[in-house]
């Protein structure tokens, strides 16, 4: 059952990452990978919210499998984040590479922490 929920969530999350990236990347001309940053930040916030809700026993574990492990896990990506950062280094855009690392980590972690805090405030 859990395997099926993970599959359902991932079947939607992965293509949504692709479509979001395309939509975001077509709206600017810079080398900076805004598309991947966007999905990683949104997915981190959602997973934080879910983790907080599960911790407060507000949602069942099945929702975590579907939306957390499946959807948020597939919506966000470390491989594309890593590859795009290395590409920026190889294209000598060192400032963008460093900015991508710092902004991704700070905003990803910040929104995850925020999501958990908000969930805690709502459900505890």
């Amino acid at each position: 059952m859990t395997v099926l929920l993970v599959a359902l969530g991932a079947a939607v999350g992965a293509p949504l990452r692709y479509l979001t990236d395309r939509a975001v990347q077509s709206r600017h001309d810079s080398l900076f990978p805004w598309g991947t940053l966007a999905v990683n930040v949104v997915g981190s916030f959602l997973l934080g919210l879910l983790a907080g809700a599960v911790a407060a026993s507000a949602v069942p574990g099945a929702v975590m499998a579907l939306l957390g492990t499946g959807f948020c896990g597939a919506l966000t990506t470390y491989s594309t984040f890593g590859y795009e950062t290395v590409r920026l280094v190889q294209e000598r855009a060192l400032g963008y590479a460093a900015l991508n690392v710092v902004v991704s980590v700070v905003t990803g972690l910040g929104t995850a922490f925020g999501g958990i805090t908000i969930a805690g405030a709502i459900w505890s």
Binding site: V3, A7, A14, L75, T76, T80, G82, A112
Partner: protein, 150 residues
């Protein structure tokens, strides 16, 4: 954000690849559960392996193979994108800090980042080394090297 018709096969293979990648990540997490306050090895290894493989894949599809147009979306965006995760990484760090394992949290935060980026480099370098044609040194000498020739 409505996709045009030609996009549907791409979206389909990304969806299938994403499911395969996510199931592999889930399987590893079940087999190797992270205990509260302890280093989340399953997510760490998942992200490191995914980064190594994207490095290999991108060299193969952009420099070596004349790849089918759906191969990169399937393996790169789908399988590896679905396998690796940024959201679990972020929430893992929060959980470690909340459990009072601040040092483990910082080690995991910086360790994943460092190992992931080195893994992409290693994947790219290994793939280039493994697929380098044997006759290239002769060609390079004749044309004055790859860098100045291109």
């Amino acid at each position: 954000m409505r996709p045009e018709r030609a996009q549907w096969p791409v979206i389909g293979v990304i969806s299938i690849g994403g499911v395969l990648g996510a199931e592999a990540r889930y399987g590893l997490a079940v087999a190797w559960p992270a205990h509260p306050g302890h280093f989340p090895w399953a997510t760490f290894v998942t992200n490191a392996v995914g980064c190594l493989l994207i490095g290999v894949l991108m060299v193969l599809v952009t420099e070596v193979w004349v790849a089918h147009r759906l191969l990169r979306p399937f393996l790169g965006v789908g399988v590896l994108g679905g396998f690796t995760t940024f959201s679990t990484y972020a929430v893992d760090v929060q959980r470690l800090v909340a459990a009072g394992a601040v040092r483990t949290g910082l080690l995991y935060l910086a360790g994943t980042l460092l190992v992931a980026l080195v893994a992409v480099y290693a994947g790219v370098a290994a793939a280039r080394l493994a697929t380098r044609p044997r006759h290239r040194p002769v060609e390079a000498a004749r044309y004055g090297g790859r860098e100045s020739g291109s």
